[in-house]
């Protein structure tokens, strides 16, 4: 499975760690806030997804 890298200095959006180089899988939506690493509320719909952090608001959608 391919891996998706997050940007340097970001939290990993798959596990929330600040030191993880990116462990997300291609078909997984982001689950953790890239700013603070907090778990996000994610709504997956047939045509996209919406990820929302309690502190940083909407942080990703398609």
């Amino acid at each position: 499975m391919d891996r998706v890298a997050t940007g340097a200095g970001d939290h990993c959006t798959a596990c929330g760690s600040a030191i993880c180089p990116g462990c997300g899988r291609v078909l997984d939506p982001p689950r953790f806030c890239r700013v603070c690493g907090r778990r996000m509320a994610v709504t997956v719909t047939p045509g996209g997804f919406r990820a929302r952090c309690r502190d940083h608001g909407d942080l990703g959608s398609t």
Binding site: M1, L27, P29, F32, T43, V44, T45, P46, G47
Partner: protein, 365 residues
């Protein structure tokens, strides 16, 4: 001395070859004459005699060597066309209430018992559900399934479902299916009266293996809900999840159990191991093995709507179109409950390339 830098153009890409199919201990290797005989007997049973294959016959087909999987798939496709026609039914699904489930299904990232990345979210409001149903309809879907991560619906949850079903059906113009866990007799009756077209409740795996993957409710409780769905006149959608460590014999056992249950639809899922779940480290089913079992499910359940469901992208990769000629006649398009799928456009292009028309299958099988 530094190692030479690999040439990115000429260095071959590393690929992992899955282990070839092996017959089980004590089982004879199947030679070409015997393989042909088993396939001919299955063809006669299904297409001439019009009867279901027995567990013993399915086991005999499951033992065929890898080289015979294409023959198995060809027979399954012939049976599918003869029994169901060329149409493919397209469906979209929506996790309307995500996570926080008290049950311990070992494959599921929505169980509150496991530390997974999935955050529990409350019931979506009606506008969000309508938008998702419209997205689905736009991709040619005729079925939209409202899914909730619950053991079973409490009264408040049931009331919300009962209000949503006619709203989605009438405003969007799709058949509405529901998946909300275990039901009582009264709940099944009320859902049927509200116009639920199809109710999804998966057995997931064989009765003999179920206690290895779920301990908070029993296989028999699932069976009883499936029975209630049919008793109240809803179409039953009852699926399987392949790749949780069950044996080939247990997969055949599940097919024979489904024969007895006689659902309208069987969604076929392949385990996509989810981080944080007890099965998070499992190895996905090999692609060729998945094709074998798609064909076997079709041969065991010749008249059902056999739907591609979760895990197909991970398991089958480039072989997804081959599954469509191995017995599959329905798809979940777009995203799944907590993971993403490939785009509906890719699936619709695949169907166009295969010259398979999209259409509702309900009521014609």
């Amino acid at each position: 001395m530094a190692s030479p830098t690999p040439d990115p153009v000429t260095t071959p890409t590393a690929v992992t070859l899955s282990a070839p199919h092996r017959v089980g201990p004590g089982q004879p290797d199947v030679g070409p004459d015997e393989a042909r005989a088993r396939l001919r007997a299955a063809q006669a049973a299904l297409l001439d005699e019009g009867r279901l294959l027995t567990g013993t016959e399915l086991t005999g087909l499951a033992e065929l060597p890898d080289a015979w999987v294409t023959s198995l798939a060809a027979l399954a496709h012939e049976v599918r066309l003869a029994r169901c026609g060329p149409e493919v039914e397209v469906e979209g699904i929506l996790s309307t209430k995500t996570g926080g489930c008290p049950e311990d299904c070992h494959f599921c990232s929505q169980s509150s018992r496991f530390d997974t990345p999935v955050q529990a979210t409350p019931f979506l409001d009606a506008d969000e559900v309508l938008r998702a149903a419209e997205e689905t309809r736009a991709s040619g879907a005729t079925e939209f399934c409202i899914v909730l991560a619950v053991r079973g619906p409490d009264e408040r949850t049931l009331q919300r479902i009962l209000a949503l079903v006619p709203l989605v059906r009438d405003r969007v113009g799709v058949n509405v299916a529901v998946s909300a866990g275990l039901l009582t007799d009264d709940q099944a009756r009320r859902l049927a009266e509200a116009g639920v077209h199809r109710y999804n409740h998966n057995l997931e795996t064989a009765r003999s293996f179920f206690p290895h993957v779920v301990t908070t409710h029993s296989w028999e409780e699932r069976w009883e809900t499936c029975r209630l769905v049919r008793a109240h006149g809803m179409e039953l959608c009852c699926g399987a999840l392949i790749g949780m460590g069950e044996t080939a014999a247990q997969r055949v056992e599940l097919i024979t159990e489904l024969q007895e249950l006689d659902p309208t639809e069987v969604p076929l899922n392949f385990l996509n191991p989810r981080p944080g779940t007890p099965l998070g480290g499992a190895t996905p089913v090999a692609a060729w093995e998945a094709i074998r079992w798609i064909a076997l499910f079709r041969l065991g359940l010749p008249g059902v709507i056999l739907r591609y469901a979760g895990g197909r992208e991970v398991t089958l990769r480039e072989l997804q179109s081959m599954g469509m000629t191995a017995g599959i006649n329905a798809l979940i398009v777009g995203n799944y409950l907590t993971t993403l799928g490939r785009s509906p456009e890719e699936d619709l292009q695949m169907l166009a390339d295969l010259r398979m028309p999209v259409g509702a299958l309900t009521g014609v099988l």
